[in-house]
Amino acid sequence: MEQSYEQSLKRLEEIVKLLEEGGLPLEKTLELFSEGTALITSCSKYLDDAEQKITKLLGNGERDA
């Protein structure tokens, strides 16, 4: 994902709001629509495709609870 999930979601909500308010030229509407569907696709992909990555910082943990 190029931008963070948070940013994508925010943009998506913005697009829906713009479209719901209406009054935009058809061309602009379709442009926003395709941007919105692309964002939904990339967000879904971000959620679905991820396999948790675990990295470790060097430390000196011991065997206890």
């Binding site: 963070s4 999930y5 948070e6 979601l9 998506l12 909500e13 697009i15 829906v16 479209l19 719901e20 209406g22 935009l24 058809l26 509407t29 379709l30 629509f33 919105g36 569907t37 939904i40 967000c43 879904s44 971000y46 959620l47 991820a50 396999e51 948790q52 990555k53 675990i54 990295t55 470790k56 910082l57 060097l58 430390g59 000196n60 943990g61 011991e62 065997r63 206890d64 609870a65």
Partner: protein, 403 residues
């Protein structure tokens, strides 16, 4: 000791002798004494001086800096304690005292006292203030975890994180969570995360255990590290009922490590639901716009000009015919009107014509081509012509009778 010849002791000899007697008495070594603290004095050297008393008696006591530094609470006047130590004599004063090597509050545990004291101190400093609480990000890219690598807590945290939000990277900094040096290690781990900027949110904690096991999370050094952390910290120590200083300082307190993981990341299922409803809204809103546009097009299609151009042309033609007819009518009317006017004028003109006058029986007299209007216009013997309606008569002037 009693001899026939009395021995005379110096004061110092006496005190030294009594000290020896006390020191050699096994019953006075490593004993427990309970009492209430009074005359408490913490010397700058670190030694603690106090008097232990009960309802009937008092005894002086001292605790040297080496032992005092290990205390987890600060003794206070009026505090009832259980002291552990050895009885001896301070030769200079000749007073015997209890040399305390360890003590704990009688009744409530030393740790509880320490807990309350540190809590009160940090609260006063404002470390627990809501003003200092940082918001936990909703969609962290990296979740930092400070806990034991081998404990149950780390597995619980990993399980919840991977179930709820596998998109986030988990960064584990294994730390010693109990025993000697654990508080220092936890504090260090928190600092490392901040120095490396290695996480967007931190989970600091461990699984359940005794108050001693959890003690590292009640240490000031951990509390300060949490407070100073730029990265929001979720504290997750022990079970639901365990409260630690770390919990109070943290930006968010979770009852358990699993709960901390749930607070750290959003739920993937919920997010997918959210995306789905956004998708629905997106489609619906665009559908609405497209339907509107379609309705507009339909409305335009309904117009005659697009439906059949011939109709429009015929309509234009009709208009044209109507206009030309109207023009013709108007012209005709105008002409008629003028015709009538002309008739009237002609009649008027006719009435004024001299010929008309002649026709009514009058005659027109001319002399040498000029109309005769006066006797002065003729002379005797002039030949004058008289125009009648059906011809003219030429006559000679015989006489002139002036008017």
């Amino acid at each position: 000791m009693i001899t026939p010849t009395p021995t005379v002791y110096s004061v110092n000899d006496l005190n030294t002798y009594v000290k020896q007697v006390l020191d050699n008495d096994e019953n006075l070594k490593y004993i427990f004494v309970t009492g209430e603290i009074s005359n408490f004095k913490a010397h700058y050297s670190g030694h603690l001086y106090l008097t232990l008393k009960d309802e009937k008696a008092a005894v002086k006591a001292v605790m040297f800096a080496g032992n005092a530094s290990k205390l987890r609470f600060m003794p206070e006047n009026g505090m009832k304690i259980l002291a552990f130590g050895t009885v001896s004599l301070f030769p200079r004063d000749g007073s015997y005292q209890l040399y305390i090597s360890d003590m704990q509050p009688d009744g409530i545990g030393a740790l509880s006292i320490a807990f309350e004291q540190l809590k009160a101190k940090l609260e006063k400093e404002g470390l627990f203030s809501p003003l200092h609480k940082k918001p936990v990000p909703r969609f962290p890219r990296r979740v930092g975890v400070v806990t034991s690598e081998t404990g149950a807590a780390v597995q619980d945290i990993f399980n919840v994180l991977s179930r709820r939000f596998p998109s986030a990277e988990v960064v584990l900094r294994p730390a010693k969570v109990q025993g000697e040096g654990s508080a220092i290690d936890i504090a260090k781990a928190i600092k490392e995360f901040n120095e490396l900027d290695a996480a967007d949110v931190l989970i600091v904690g461990r699984g359940g255990g005794s108050i001693e096991d959890l003690w590292a999370f009640n240490e000031e050094i951990v509390a300060r590290a949490v407070f100073e952390s730029k990265i929001p910290v979720i504290s997750a120590v022990g079970h639901e009922t365990d409260y630690t200083i770390c919990d109070f300082v943290a930006d968010l307190r979770a009852p358990t490590p699993s709960a901390a993981a749930e607070l750290a990341v959003p739920d993937k299922i919920e997010l997918k639901g959210e995306l789905l409803s956004l998708k629905q809204l997106l489609f619906n809103s665009v559908k609405g716009t497209i339907n509107n546009e379609r309705a507009n097009i339909r409305a335009i299609e309904q117009k005659d000009v697009l439906r059949n151009p011939i109709v429009r042309i015929n309509e234009n033609r009709k208009d044209l015919v109507y206009i030309s007819e109207r023009i013709e009518n108007l012209t005709a009317n105008a002409v008629n009107l003028n015709k009538n006017k002309l008739g009237t004028l002609a009649e008027k003109l006719n009435a004024l014509s001299p010929l008309g006058v002649v026709a009514r029986g009058y005659s027109l007299v001319e002399n040498k081509g000029k109309i005769v209007k006066s006797v002065a216009d003729v002379s005797i013997e002039d030949e004058i012509s008289m125009k009648l309606s059906d011809g003219s008569v030429v006559a000679k002037v015989l006489r002139i009778n002036e008017g």
